[in-house]
Every structure is written in structure tokens, then in C-alpha cells.
Amino acid sequence: MQNDYLLEVKNLTTRFHTQRGVAHAVNGVSFGMYPGEILGVVGESGCGKSVTAQSIMRLIPEPPGRIESGEILYDGKDIVSLSTRQMRKIRGDRISMIFQEPMTSLNPVKTVGRQIGEVYALHRGVSKKESMQKAVEMLEKVQVPEPARRVKEYPHQLSGGMRQRVMIAMALACDPEILIADEPTTALDVTVQAQIMDLMLKLQAKQKTSIMMITHDLGIIAEMANRVIVMYAGRIVESAPTRPLFRETGHPYTKGLMNSVPVIGSKDADGNSRLTEITGMVPSLYDLPQGCSFAPRCPHRNERCQNELPPLFQVSPGHEVRCWMCESASVKGAAA
């Protein structure tokens, strides 16, 4: 397959050196993003989704964090080795990011107009006035009613959904090629979440921005993503286009995840409402098991799982699974 990735992450390893020890937040993660696609990233809390995203943005708090190794190729360059100055040029302009908490991610003492305009003025070198006009324009784009009035307001005067729209407006102000959305709707209500998802899909369709959609909600993935990466304990355990992931789920963890989520209308006819649970807990990132990190919770584990870390096996084009059970299937994939 020809590599026409817009952004390629190769073997990214990010760690936090803290008092308690070393947190292996991201361990050798590799993936690529095609232009104009929505790449979903799912996984439980603490599995390294945000750290991966922040590594791409080079926003890991240093210290304690550090990108230990790996490459992030964008536009033919390795982001990891860029100077901070060059990196700043990319941030907000070519690659933007929106965060989970719209409540706290906006500066409370500045008008939203200034905050949106700031990024535009910075990268386009325009005057304050022009940047304010841009802010109004952007707010209109993200469907904020009365944008001319809203630009003069402060974040606390806006509702949660509104603030998240402001964040999106800010991220899209410079027409970035890549938008990283770190759980953009987790803090919102379902009806507002629906609004925001709708908005993002529309904008994406129009602007052809590549979106990296981080979430822990399989529902959102199913509805939005073209391709999905499933992470567990700092590693990619499965990556596949959306439909194969749900239909031909490869990794036991992905399966468990899908079964343990209550889904409306999935109750048994006889009213038995017990869910299939994944037993045990996520391993500590400070002390990862030697072999497959999921092995301790895996119903199919064997000795090999506990001692040897499985590589990613390609089970079908574009579908990779990190599980020894897929070893046999992978031969097929590798041959193809």
C-alpha cells in the first residue's frame, strides 16, 4: 500500500518521570492519518490517548514528561526534532487541537473574540480589527447565534456547548490540515453532544480537514470515524477501518469493550440484564506486565501472552490486531 499519510507517527514513546516512578504513558505507538479522514482513537481512561495527541502537538508538560523516542512525520519533517519556534508555526495553524473541558480551556479573563482572533492574528499577521472580524466570521461558521455580540463576551457568559463551539472556531480559524479533538463532547450533554458532532461532521465535509477524534465512547466512533485505533495501556491493540472493527473485531479487549457497554434495546427478551464484564482492572502504567498488557484480564490468555508482547498482526488490509491469537490470520494478511 502506498504511503500517502498526511501525518505519520512512528514508534512514539512518551514517558513521565515522576516521584512514583516512570509512567509508561505511550509505548511505541505507530499510525498514520490520511488527508481528509476522521481517525477515531478509543480506549479507557488513562490509556494514553491524550498523551499521544499532546505529543503530536509537542505540548507534553516537560518536566515530568518526555518524548523518549519515535518520529512524527508531518509535511516531510519530523515534528519531534523541530525547534520550538518552527513547532509554534505549526501549532494552531497547520495542526490544531480542541480539548475535553470547554469550561476550563478558555481563558476566563479574555473575550472569546480576542481568543479566537489571537490565533488568526498570530499566524496570519493581521491587525487586531481584522482578527476580530475573523472571529465573528468563525463564530458564524460554528453556528453561534448573534456572533457579533458574542465575540465581546467572556467565556463564563456562555453555555458549555457554546464554549465548545468557540474552541472549535478557534481551532479552525487558520484552516488547519489536521484537527486533533481530545474528547470534545465528553463534558457535554447528549443533546448538545449531538449538536457538536453534527457541526464537526459538517465542517469536516466542507473543509476536508483531517480529524483525530479521541473518545472513549464507541458510539461516537461508530458514527463519526472512518478508521479507528483502539488503545490499551499505552499501546495500540487494534486498528482498523470502522466497519471491520465492529464487525470483525479482532482483539479480546475490543470485544470485551463492545460487550460491556450497555446498549439500548440489547436487554434479553427474558429481562436478564447482566452485562458481560471485563474482569479486573487496567494495569498500572508504572508497572506494566511483561507480556501482553491485557493478558491479566483476558479470557483467552495463555502462558505466551503473559511472557511475550505480541506484535501487531495484520489480519486484513488496514486491520491490525495485537494478539497472539491473530498470529495465524496475519500470515494471510502479510502475504496479501
Partner: protein, 276 residues
């Protein structure tokens, strides 16, 4: 808890503070063992204002008393001023703060009104008025400093309790049928002692300094009991002729106050996980 190397470094405050305060407390406790002379009775005018020597490591004061011994014994007074007055402040402040924060309503309004009034009188001036009323003396210093400086503790405690009250375990305790006082002092208080402790340590430092200031105005502890503030302010005229008389108590105050300040700051950093 986000810990980091920087947090480790930040702890040097705490460690230095703890060591300094421990030293001073040790000095106070073991004063009779450490002091080479009696601070009052071993006065000998024949050897007044002797510079430091092997006999008198820190020299002697105008009355011919060993400065070192007086500094060592003085730690008892200065520490007790700090501790006792801050204990009183903390008790008053915590009681009022906890009840005001927990009960709210008119009691809260009353306490806050009182606190605001107390806050608007500079505590130095309040202490001055009380000392003038009661006259100089150790117990009076306790009272003057102990009843004038609780408003800060009260405010902080109250705001802590107000936010602690919103944390669910308090609700949980109510749901479990706990009584009000048990919730206030058994459940909430242990969780807000951190900031109170910080304020108390800083308050101790403040009280020691204020006692020195009161001594400067002639309203400190009673002679001949040695107190650092008193020694310092009594010797201020000999500042140039016999500097050792004021330098050592000055240093002692400095070190102690520094110790408590560092301890307070260190505790604050320790208790607040978000300050690296």
C-alpha cells in the same frame, strides 16, 4: 497526585523549615541542659558587655548575663508566645469558621461580620491597645496576640468548610445519619486541617515578630524573663557598641520565624498537589 522532580525540590523548604523549628523546639525543651549559665540569676555586673569569648560564647549583656543562655532560655518564651497565642487563635478561628461554614444562615452572617470587623483593625494596633490595657507581661502577650489574630484562620476555615461541604463524603455522612457535630469535627475538620496548619505555622512566625515589635514599644514580656524580642529591643541602643547583645536574639528570631515560614510554605506545597 502528580509528583515530579520539581516537587521533590520544593520539599527542601519543608525540610529546612522542619529542621529549624525542631532545633528551636529542642532548644526550648532542653534549655536547662544546653544553657551554660542561668539566664537571670547568673548576672554579674563585673562582666557586663563582654564580647564573645570562650567563657561566654555569645558575650554578655549589659547586666553581665550570658547572652547565649538568655537566647536559649528566650526560646521558651518566644516559642510559647508563638504557640500559645496561635493555639488560641486557631481554636477560636476554627470553631467559628467550622460552625459558620457548616451552619450558614444568621450564624454565618454574624461570624463573618465579626471577622470582617476584626480584619479591618490592623492586628498590630489591636494588640497594642490590649497590651496597653493589660500592661506588659507574658500572659498578657498571649492574650493580646491570641485574641486579635483569629480572623484569618476563621475565614480560611470557613471557606475550606464551605468547599468541603460540597464534597460528597459530607453528604454521604449526612445520608448515613451522622449528627451535625460529628460531621463538622469528625468528618470535615480532619480534611481541612492542612490549610489551617499552614496558617497556624505562619501565624506562629507572625506572633513571634509581633512580640518583638511590642517589646520595641515597651509592651513585651516582663523582665528579667528573657524573651528574644525584649533582648533585642533592650539592646538596640548598644547596637553599635555591643552588637552581640542584639545580634544573637535577632538571629534567633530570624531563624525561628524563617523556620516556621518555611515549614508553613512547605506544608502548603505538600498539601496542594497542584503546586509543583
Amino acid at each position: 497526585m502528580a509528583f515530579s522532580k520539581a516537587a521533590l525540590k520544593g520539599k527542601s523548604n519543608l525540610i529546612i523549615g522542619a529542621v529549624l523549628t525542631a532545633l528551636v523546639i529542642g532548644m526550648a525543651v532542653f534549655a536547662p541542659l544546653l544553657a551554660p549559665y542561668h539566664p537571670v540569676n547568673d548576672a554579674d555586673l563585673m562582666v557586663s558587655e563582654e564580647p564573645p569569648s570562650s567563657d561566654y560564647l555569645c558575650g554578655t549583656d549589659t547586666q553581665g548575663r550570658d547572652v547565649l543562655s538568655r537566647v536559649i532560655y528566650g526560646s521558651r518564651i518566644s516559642l510559647s508566645v508563638g504557640l500559645v497565642s496561635q493555639l488560641i487563635n486557631t481554636l477560636i478561628g476554627v470553631f467559628l469558621g467550622v460552625t459558620a461554614g457548616y451552619f450558614g444562615t444568621w450564624w454565618d452572617d454574624l461570624v463573618m461580620g465579626l471577622t470582617n470587623i476584626m480584619l479591618s483593625i490592623p492586628s498590630m494596633i489591636f494588640a497594642l491597645a490590649i497590651m496597653a490595657l493589660l500592661g506588659p507581661g507574658l500572659v498578657n502577650v498571649y492574650i493580646a496576640l491570641g485574641f486579635t489574630n483569629w480572623s484569618f484562620t476563621c475565614r480560611i476555615t470557613r471557606s475550606q468548610v464551605l468547599s468541603a461541604k460540597r464534597i460528597e463524603y459530607v453528604r454521604a455522612a449526612e445520608a448515613l445519619g451522622y449528627g451535625k457535630w460529628r460531621i463538622m469535627f469528625g468528618q470535615i475538620l480532619p480534611n481541612v486541617v492542612g490549610p489551617i496548619l499552614v496558617i497556624a505555622t505562619l501565624g506562629i512566625a507572625y506572633a513571634i515578630l509581633t512580640e518583638a515589635s511590642l517589646s520595641f514599644l515597651g509592651l513585651g514580656t516582663q523582665p528579667p524573663t528573657p524573651s528574644w524580642g525584649g533582648m533585642l529591643s533592650n539592646a538596640r541602643e548598644e547596637f553599635f557598641t555591643a552588637p552581640w547583645i542584639s545580634i544573637y536574639p535577632g538571629l534567633a528570631i530570624f531563624v525561628t520565624v524563617l523556620g516556621f515560614n518555611l515549614l508553613g510554605d512547605g506544608l502548603r506545597d505538600l498539601l496542594d498537589p497542584h503546586k509543583l
